[in-house]
């Protein structure tokens, strides 16, 4: 459990935030630039000292200004990955990796050197100087270096934003492995909704230094009053099980609560494994009856819980499918013609399902 509040003013910018979140897995901190994401993370790390602040992790107090208590950064069991890798240029890759590890007692080593090297695929780089690495390699070294302090909380400040698309796609699988194989909770700053959908289990939304929303990913992604939920990128992430590869039609089937969803053949996914699939609101249409004469194969049955019309003739429909919220973006005209109401049972026809 991570609990805190920070009041922090810096020029025109004001951070005023009060939060209490259950940290397990990856919690994305999402917001536009200037929303206070980085300041929040720096306050948690102790790199900034909010004049009015309070912070505890699993009952351990790191800051309590009511009794002027502030634990300096080097005494906090955190790992911090900055936007730029910030490797020490005078040290080799291996020396960079060992820098933090050497500074914690052996009894606190939870992440072994060999495991971190293996997890981030750094074996071939160890003897190199930290100058001659690609952007993606540098960031992987920085992540492993932070992991090797065996942190209780890993803080990542847009670790992909300084990388080109190629390095991004190179590094994302490592982040997923991190998520799957280590029990270290991660706070992950990003302004990219697709990174959120790919990595996060929980989500905090910040705007202008205030907390707009926090909670499980599926709840926050479908909270219709949030600005990004109205955007073109809005959608949900469903957790599904891979059931079948159909090479004849070039399709892979996943099962979501017993409903079959088809998507482009992805033979690298093993049958029975759990995957996260993304369903964008704009790829979902709505029908009142389950007609089979349609080019769309994927159909989910659900009950409408919310309907919001915007001023551009679009209606965002939120429905519950087996307790999981799903969004559909349709025209306002359709919603009127179909006479959609809160409580109506409808069929959501899903055009695009993508593994994230």
């Amino acid at each position: 459990m991570l609990e805190g509040c920070f009041q922090f003013a810096q020029g025109k910018f004001n951070l005023s935030i009060d939060f209490k979140i259950n940290v397990r897995g990856v919690t994305a901190i999402f917001g536009h630039s200037g929303s206070g994401k980085t300041t929040l993370l720096r306050c948690i790390a102790g790199l900034e000292r909010a004049p009015q602040g309070y912070f505890t992790l699993n009952g351990e107090c790191w800051q309590d200004e009511s009794r002027q208590f502030f634990l300096p950064t080097h005494k906090r069991p955190i790992g911090y990955v900055f936007q730029e890798a910030s490797l020490f240029p005078h040290l080799s890759v291996e020396e960079n990796l060992r820098y933090g590890q050497r500074r914690i007692p052996d009894t606190q080593h939870k992440v072994a050197f060999a495991d971190a090297v293996e997890l981030l695929g750094l074996g071939y780089l160890l003897k190199r100087g930290s100058q001659n690495l690609s952007g993606g390699e540098r960031q992987r070294v920085a992540i492993a270096r932070a992991l090797l302090t065996s942190p209780e909380l890993l803080l990542m400040d847009e670790p992909l934003s300084a990388l080109d698309d190629h390095s991004k796609t190179e590094i994302l699988p490592y982040l997923e492995k991190l998520h799957a194989e280590l029990a270290i909770p991660i706070l992950y700053i990003t302004h990219s909704l697709s990174e959120v959908m790919r990595l996060a289990d929980y989500m905090l939304v910040l705007a202008q230094g205030k907390l707009l929303s926090s909670g499980r990913l599926s709840e926050v992604l479908t909270q219709i009053d949030l600005p990004f939920v109205q955007s073109d990128e809005a959608g949900v992430v469903l957790t599904a099980t891979v059931t079948e590869h159909d090479t004849q039609y070039h399709l892979t089937y996943v099962s979501f609560h017993g409903e079959q969803l088809g998507m482009s053949l992805a033979p690298h996914l093993s049958i029975g494994s759990t995957v996260r699939v993304r369903v964008l609101a704009r790829d979902v249409s709505i029908a009142l009856i389950n007609e089979t004469h349609s080019s769309i194969l994927n159909v989910l049955h659900g009950q409408i819980t919310e309907l919001v019309k915007d001023n551009r003739g679009q209606t965002l429909v939120k429905m519950l499918v087996f307790d999981t919220p799903v969004l559909a973006k349709i025209t306002y005209k359709s919603s009127v013609l179909l006479n959609l109401q809160v409580g109506s049972w409808v069929y959501a026809r899903v055009k695009g399902v993508v593994v994230v």
Binding site: F82, S86, G129
Partner: protein
Amino acid sequence: MLVSPTFSLSASDFDAIWLTLKLASLTTFLLLCLGMPVAWWLAHTRSWWKTFIEAMITLPLVLPPSVLGFYLLITLSPNGWLGGLWRDLSGNTLAFSFTGLVIGSMIYSVPFVVQPLQNAFEALGKRPLEVAASLRATPLDCFFTVVLPMCKRGLLTAITMSFAHTVGEFGVVLMIGGNISGKTQVISIAIYDHVERLEYGQAHLLSLLMLVFSFAVLLSVFLINRRWQVRV
């Protein structure tokens, strides 16, 4: 009277060389110890005093050595506050002593140590310190394992400039140290002395020694800096 040129150095010349090296090494060492915290403070403070201290530290660059030497002489003499205090504590005088020379040289060379270090610390920025802290390094640990290695060019410049500048000083030493052979006579003053006595041969030798030494030092610094530049 015609003086036949001798091209060998006398015992007092060797004394002067030894004294010069001793003075320059000691001055450089003490200045580094004192200059590093000052440069660190200047690089990180937002205090109003920063500008004031910076101006003070730069003064020896622009003041004529005679002015600096004159004030130092006043301060270090047994009637001055520092000289008086020193005499009460140790029973010796500061003016016309080796200790006095060290104090004078330190003041004279202080900008050559503080400025390169301050520039290096400022160029380093806060990020490496934050990374080190997030990797559990205490501030002191971070200073020795991250800051100094990353600022090695600034450090090298500070050391060489302070050493070379002390070796080359003349005016301040003359004002506060006089010209006591074996005690306060440094090379630059020994040369002056030889010229006054028309001992051109020895003056030539000592001068050539200084020239070669200074050039060698600067050349090696530039070479090392060039090598480090490629890496950093």
